[in-house]
Symmetry: C2
Subunit: 276 residues, 2 copies
């Protein structure tokens, strides 16, 4: 999915919601455990119930890897079930030297190699340009680079002053020279909403992937107020508050209700900003 | 494998060699492709031929993930074949917010969850303390934190000045407060041998995992000269120059010859430093 297609989906669905598929087998409704692949069955029903209300799905790789082969199988099946009207974003936070990053890119972008063909992947910046470029060599795919993360430990290094600015700002300025805003997005945690004005000075036109709404305490209104741009430029992620809205047989229905609440709030925001 | 056991293995084998299992199915001898799991068969023969000459094996996760389910299966089988006399180190460069890092730890440390039980994992520092601590909560397991990597792009951010020192030095100083040198090692690339004196000011007693010998151009002599400490404190990795020493049926034999050359050089270094 390229940038224009993403913007079109946002306007059409009046939503910039990303649903995080951090699916923990110990937290899904117990009746699903009778299925051959309970995690995929859960994800499938969540996707089927919400795909008209969101523009992206973001499975976090760790939740699948923790279950070994079975988990990897659930992830492959899930990747194949994400509809073309939604960005498939694998939250894997990878990054290694060049030839190794190419292997990671194959793992998540090249269906013939691995069974998976996501549109985008989260990447950690610490190893620099040659850890990021191999992902960009896959045509039409996105790198979503960690800039300012929502967790407490994000402050350990990301806020360090490097020259006249902080590390996360230098990461953004540097990565801006590696590819355009049609190939790179940045992760900016919703728990740092006071930083969005500042982030927009460094990346005015980029899309930002914003985790931390809901369970982690970030505010959608705050994020939108300071972070929205002329193309919306935001993908706001919610995981637990949607997918675990109910632990009963009605989990997909309740997930839809939660997604709908966020979509309606987003629709207002898009209207207020004359984007729809 | 705890620190004392690792030191004992180093003294007993007169070696601080780590063999990197960056096994690319397109580079292994073609006769192996007739086996049910060619990559595992390759790794098995490499391990069987070299385990008395090295103290660690380091499969890089990317090479396995790129092949989807089949690759994950090869990785599980490989992890189970690493003998107890060698540290099993998964080079996965993971790191995420707390509950997600716990999932990554389960993936690589908890055999009941995933089929794998490595002794150590490489972790990226960008997300800070809560991305690292969950790995340390698994008793007896090691975190090998990226500090100064061997690749060109390592300079992009790791060399930035933060206060009175560079980012990689601040990463080391900070992580030193998270756990002792019996639980954390640091990655320091062999291509940066001029930095080892400096690194030892920040981490005098830690073990350092040193990639970049061989194909990447680092010098074992230089690394040892400036990096060795009273417990040796080095795990020097070599991947391609050992595992691809021959592409013929004699690949395991030739791998042993290359490993033996390094082990002999290491034995001299250990003697010169009165460590054996």
């Amino acid at each position: 999915m390229n940038r224009q297609q993403l913007v079109n989906q946002i306007k059409q669905k009046k939503s910039f919601l990303c649903v995080g598929l951090d699916t923990d087998i110990s937290l899904i409704p117990s009746f699903l455990l009778d299925f051959a692949d309970p995690v995929f069955e859960f994800n499938k029903r969540i996707i089927d119930a919400t795909h008209d209300l969101c523009v992206a799905y973001k499975p976090n790789s760790a939740f699948y890897e923790s279950r070994g082969i079975a988990g990897w199988q659930s992830l492959i099946m899930t990747s194949q079930h994400i509809p073309k009207t939604c960005l498939g974003l694998i939250d894997a936070k990878r990054g290694d030297i060049g030839n190794t990053s190419t292997m990671y890119a194959k793992a998540f972008f090249d269906k013939e190699s691995s069974g998976m063909s996501f549109d985008a992947i989260t990447v950690a910046p610490y190893m620099g340009i040659d850890s990021v470029k191999p992902f960009l060599e896959f045509e039409g795919k996105w790198v979503v680079l960690l800039a300012l993360t929502s967790n407490e430990g994000g402050k350990n290094f990301q806020f360090l002053t490097t020259g006249e600015q902080r590390l996360f700002e230098t990461v953004i300025d540097t990565a801006n020279t590696w590819a355009g805003n049609d190939r790179i997005m940045y992760v900016v945690g919703a728990t740092r909403s006071e930083e969005f004005i500042n982030i927009r000075k460094h990346a005015p036109d980029h899309f930002l992937l914003v985790p931390g709404i809901g369970a982690q305490g970030g505010s959608l209104q705050e994020v939108a107020k300071f972070g929205i741009n002329n193309d919306c430029g935001l993908l706001v992620n919610s995981s637990r508050s949607i997918i675990y809205a109910s632990r009963g047989e009605d989990f997909a229905e309740k997930a839809r209700e939660e997604a709908l609440k966020l979509q309606q709030e987003m629709s207002h925001i898009l209207e207020e900003n004359n984007l729809i």
